[in-house]
């Protein structure tokens, strides 16, 4: 009987969330919540690192861990990690830790921490799922905490009902087609009972009629596009970035569930239909990249909304890479998943720290903060540069691979993708200029004791840790690329073999 590492990894944040209680004294609650949650997540991170460095990832299938199986039952959810998701596990935990440490004292309630921890567990379950049922459960488990958090907000404040409705509509669009596809697969597939062993390892596809395959893939495609926030199912991304909790936004967008759906369910199970639908995915991704870049450039007033558009545009590059289905594209897409999650978290948290101090995200009312917050301005700039692929960050290597792959398979894709990246860089620079440079405005201008203060310790270390990870990954990308090389080759071969 082996030690149930994955089960523990997934359960630890969720169990912590269950036992986290509200407190009457808000100030005490903030510190207590932060301490307990951060402690649990530190343990989770150590476990994730143990999984990463302890796993022997060759070209063969990974060892499957049966939840309950270690107690003698060969049933229940099956968990496993392969090289594709391996780097995403610590990133998921890091995003949750950032969510706990970065949230301002006012927002750092037990309810918020529970949502962050539960989202972390749900995302880990999604990433470690070894069968379709577990994948679907993980899918919902990674979404529902955000929905419940928004619902609780709406019960407290009627003005939050609108955002809840938007979240419900779009997350419903990102979930119901998946449920239908899973049910269809179970009903129509002869090997439905054995789906679990098929989903993960790209070894066996499901035998279905071509028409059925296409319908199921259409459902999966809609799910992936909605969850990735691609046109026309995109509106929730900038909205969430503007009005949602930063912690949950970075977790939801950093989970890359849509990409995992394509890589671990759609391509392995339905390779023939996948090949035919990839042109559509590419089209949607290119339109999303261009549209997001245009919207970010178009004189946005809210800094966080601008970041949301940039995030939508940049994350669509991942789908471009996946849709190429060649080695460079897949490697670039997987690298971009890591780079995007870290860089987007960096800019969002930097923006949050500005918002906490100034009370606004209105770019017309911000400005001149560099004198008060020089470190924050520098870290925001670096994170923004990493988001659009400055040399030295993970994004640069990923972009390089993605453009190479795109030009090899669909040359017409390369130009809009590059243009979108360029426009995003310009938008972020303009946002940086409007927020930090120029004459001080608003609270930054007020006389007397410094009205706006520099980052405090935990905020500083949070941003620096995110940046350090981006730089280390960018300077030594071969660690991340090499670890996934065999898996990427196998996936590429599975996708390209008729």
């Amino acid at each position: 009987m082996s030690f149930p590492t994955l089960t523990l990894l997934i359960a630890l944040p969720a169990l912590t969330a269950v036992f986290l209680r509200d407190s009457e004294r808000k100030r005490l609650e903030s510190a207590r919540v932060r301490g307990i949650a951060a402690g649990a997540l530190t343990l989770t991170l150590l476990l994730a690192l143990a999984v990463v460095f302890g796993s022997d990832q060759g070209s063969g299938p990974p060892a499957v861990e049966f939840v309950g199986g270690w107690a003698g039952l060969r049933a229940g959810p099956r968990l496993a990690v392969d090289a594709i998701v391996l780097p995403l596990l610590p990133v998921t935990v890091v995003l949750a830790m950032a969510g706990i440490l970065g949230t301002s004292r006012r927002e750092s309630t037990a309810r918020h921490a529970r949502a962050v921890l539960a989202t972390c567990s749900g995302t880990l379950l999604l990433q470690c799922a070894a069968d379709l049922d577990t994948f679907v459960v993980g899918w919902f488990a990674s979404l529902l905490p955000s929905w419940f958090h928004a619902r609780a907000n709406a019960l407290e404040d009627p003005r939050e009902r609108g955002p809840l409705r938007i979240l419900t509509v779009y997350l419903g669009l990102a979930s119901l087609p998946l449920s239908l596809a899973a049910i269809s697969l179970h009903v129509t597939s002869a090997s439905g009972a054995e789906l679990g062993s098929v989903v993960l390892h790209a070894q066996r596809s499901v035998t279905l009629a071509p028409r059925t395959q296409e319908w199921i893939l259409l459902l999966l495609g809609v799910t992936a596009l909605a969850r990735k926030g691609m046109v026309p199912l995109h509106s929730w991304v900038p909205h969430l970035a503007e009005r949602g909790s930063v912690a949950l936004t970075t977790q939801l967008l950093g989970a890359h569930a849509g990409v995992l759906l394509l890589l671990r369910v759609a391509i392995p199970l339905l390779p023939d239909a996948s090949r035919s639908v990839m042109a559509l995915i590419t089209g949607a991704a290119v339109v999303s990249a261009s549209y997001g870049a245009l919207m970010a450039l178009g004189q946005q007033r809210s800094l966080r909304r601008c970041l949301g558009w940039v995030a939508m545009s940049q994350s669509s590059l991942i789908l471009v890479g996946v849709a190429t289905m060649n080695e460079q594209g897949l490697a670039g897409a997987l690298l971009q998943c890591v780079g995007f999650s870290l860089a987007f978290a960096g800019v969002m948290w930097a923006a949050h720290f500005v918002e906490v101090r100034t009370g606004t995200m209105d770019l017309k009312r911000l400005g001149g903060l560099v004198g008060r917050m020089p470190l924050a301005s520098g870290l925001f700039f670096l994170a923004a540069a990493a988001l659009v692929g400055l040399p030295g960050s993970i994004g640069f290597v990923a972009d390089e691979l993605l453009v190479h792959a795109a030009l090899a398979t669909r040359p017409w894709v390369a130009i809009p993708v590059l243009l979108a990246t360029g426009l995003n860089a310009i938008s972020l620079y303009r946002a940086y200029t409007a927020t930090f440079l120029g004459r001080p405005k608003g609270r930054a201008r007020l006389a007397g004791p410094l009205p706006v203060k520099e980052l405090v310790g935990r905020e500083r270390w949070l941003l620096m840790a995110l940046l350090a990870l981006m730089v280390v990954g960018g300077v030594a990308p071969s660690v991340l690329l090499g670890a996934r090389a065999a898996a990427v080759t196998a996936l590429s071969a599975a996708a390209s073999t008729p």
């Binding site: 808000k26 919207m295 620079y429």
Partner: protein, 513 residues
Amino acid sequence: MSQLEVLRLASCGAIGAPLLATAILGLLLFTGQRRSERLVSGIAQGALLASFAASLVCVLIALGPEWTPRRMPLVEWFRVGDMAYELALLSDRLTLVMMPLVSGLTLLATHFSRDYLHRDPGFLRFHFLVGLFATGMLWVVASASLEQLFVGWELVGVSSALLVGYFQERRAPSQAGARVFTTYRLCDLGILLAVPALHHAVGSAEFVLSGEGASVHRLSAVGGVTGLAIALALLLGAIGKSAQLPAGGWLPRAMEGPTPSSALFYGGVSVHAGVFLLLRAGTLLEASPLARLLVGLCGLTTAVYAGLAARVQSDAKGTLAFATMAQVGVMFVEIAVGLETLALVHLVSHAVLRIYQLFRAPSALSDARAIEAALANVGPQSAPLASPARHRGAPRYLYRIALDRTFLDTVQNNWLLQPVFSAARWFEAWERRWLGRIEGAAAPLVFRGDQEGEGSALARPASGREALQPLGADSVRAEVLRTEVLRAEPLSTEALSAESLPVESLRVPGSHR
């Protein structure tokens, strides 16, 4: 130790020294450590002196009889499938000319700035960015492939934009920095596109020796439409960095930065990066006559345009900026007609002269004022530089065209930027309306910008119930303001406790709550 190993070590040292200095200065900058100007300047100058010395060692080795142009592999950065990204440095005539020029001029600029920026609050930041620039530019000139060159190219662009916006508390420099960054980034797409295109056309984006006795590594020749497309993509990158038409409008604005960086970037080194790129792409251009024609046309029109505009500038730095554009335009023409050696000589001599002129510019103004004061209106009076009186004999319309810089900015703004912004505004309004429908708010959305004349943000009534009330214009405005206030006010307790600022003071004037 063999000659090759010494050469490799010296080349690495020339790039590594400023990189190390940048890392140290960056660490000081981001940890908020306050250090003396002497230490900061010492680190920067010491590193650049070491870089200059290492560059000279490379040159000395090259002067030996056994030297041949060579490529020195360093390390494989990463590999995916059959695509390997290897880092390597070059030792050829172009690199050996440019390396001492870059490190030497940067050393001079840091030496100059020690006194020029004395007691300036951004002293450390300036030296950090100059170190970053030196690292990037040296990497550009020593790179063995186009994709490797692009890494340094980007570092030069970022450091350049940040130094233009060096005086962060003023609006104009930060806007000029944004303009510089925008132009760079859009034009750099050309190089980003050329790299994979070269890979697919000839299997590599490496610079190679084009034949027996060749002394410069260049891109491989690609014929046909692909070759033309790659050459034009590279031309796009070159005109961005070298401020050639139609992307040259940023250069006069870039003079908002401190004089040492203006001299280094836009007089001495950075502005010549495009010329350097075209020299590296020589073989590719030779294979495409149309591309060469466009390079020549680009340079020629820029030389005429900048020559005209320089005549009517009212400040020394502006005049020098346009003069630089004109000279670089001439270099483009030289490359187009195949006079590459002349272009290289022109580049070096122009860089040295122009950086000297820009260093002298502040003193020259001061001297002129002193002379005027001493003569007390007794001496010969000359018309102001930009006065029409100086240009008698020239057609008046030329003066007008020169003064308006051939209306280039107006055309770009009205025909390129405004349509993009208008489209984005329209889509944004549509997005908000769509989300409003989902939210269930029946009231019309309000264009805040339309009412207040300051932008395009949309505001929504606070809740569905309130939205159903019939709202007049004033009440809508009040509602919008209220929403703004409600969104703006919730501050964290730590922010409030740290600041002890009354929340009332944050209310927007005119708010009815």
